[in-house]
Amino acid sequence: MAGASSSDYIRHHLTNLTLGKIDGEWTIAHSAAEAAEMGFWRFHIDTLGWSIGLGMIFCLMFWAAARKAKVAGASRFQLAIEIVIDFIHNEVKQIFHKKNALIAPLCLTIFVWVFLMNLMDLIPVDWFPHLFYLAGVPYMKIVPSTDPNITLGLGFSVFLLIIGFSIKEKGVGGFMGELTMMPFSAKSPIGKLCLLPVNFLLEVVGLITKPISLGFRLFGNMYAGEMIFILIALLPMWAQWTLSVPWAIFHILVILLQAYIFMVLSLVYLSMAAEDH
């Protein structure tokens, strides 16, 4: 960007377009210092915008298929959508054994949405930042899943559902019991009381780890992939395509796999929450 050094280039590619309040006015941050000044109540409107846009594409695509869904003489588009639906349906049937109207649509949303967000990684890294830069927008990150806010947002939504499922299936008492009476158990009430803090600590750590590992696994993988694309883009012309093409082909596998892993792990956590131990 305008004769910048390599580190400037990389920093530019890794900075979000941030909207927040400076001195009581909503504005866009033009530097990291400005962004930091905004405090917690600032939004990455690039990743959030792409994320919401991709989510809407997902919803509209599947909604279009649903609206025109025919039992006989289905279009190819409908059949393609049905393949995805069937895939999710089978996964859910295998892992989640209770009846629940939420779990399958949830898994479908996670899988397709995360996949679409990861897919943005395959768009050449310079295109959108440069285009927006020319249009006067200082930063533009287009891969939502390289933003930990996005992946942790999903992870903590799943976390809330884990707690919700646990309480719904086992009641508040049951859930609390699970947090405090396991994994160490004693027969006498005093023994139980003594083990309570240990159990609670272990279980809460175990519980908190789930959303964090979900969010950071996806973020880490995508961030690393994005970083390699950026580094390749710094190389001379002849080296760029010889490296970025194989990496992109490999990345097709990664983006699909990461979407699948996020979906299956959410499913496993939720089925663990919904089932008695």
């Binding site: 941030t18 990743t47 959030l48 806010n149 996005i150 903590f156």
Partner: protein, 156 residues
Amino acid sequence: MDINATIIGQAISFAIFVWFTMKFVWPVIRAAIEEREQTIAAGLQNAEQAKVSLDQAQTEAQKLLNEAKQQAAELVEQANRRANQVVEQARSDAQAAAEKEKQKAAEEIQRQTLSAKEQLRKDVAELAVLGAEQILRARIDKNAHAQLLDQLSAQL
């Protein structure tokens, strides 16, 4: 690492998309898939049934065909027998009629022969008598030889 309100925006949009999928996408497409699966299952079952009933119908048809063939064979047999009988009957009737006609003809011939003979005999007798009369008229008394002439006519 910079965690901020984006995480809340993402969580809210996630909730909305999941709600949308749950409400407008998943049930509709699953319903279509399930209905199609049922249709296909029913179709396969119908095909299976149709195959069974086709087999049954074929067996039935073969049985009926065999029966019909057998009946036809019996009928032909009967007809042949009957025809033979009729021919036999006709022949024997014809023979009997012919025999009767022949007999009648023979009797008629016999009768006519007899009557012709009688006539002839009478004629000859008369002729003889006439001849004898002629001779006798010339040579002998008719009465004296009447007895002799009667004897002669009885011998004829």
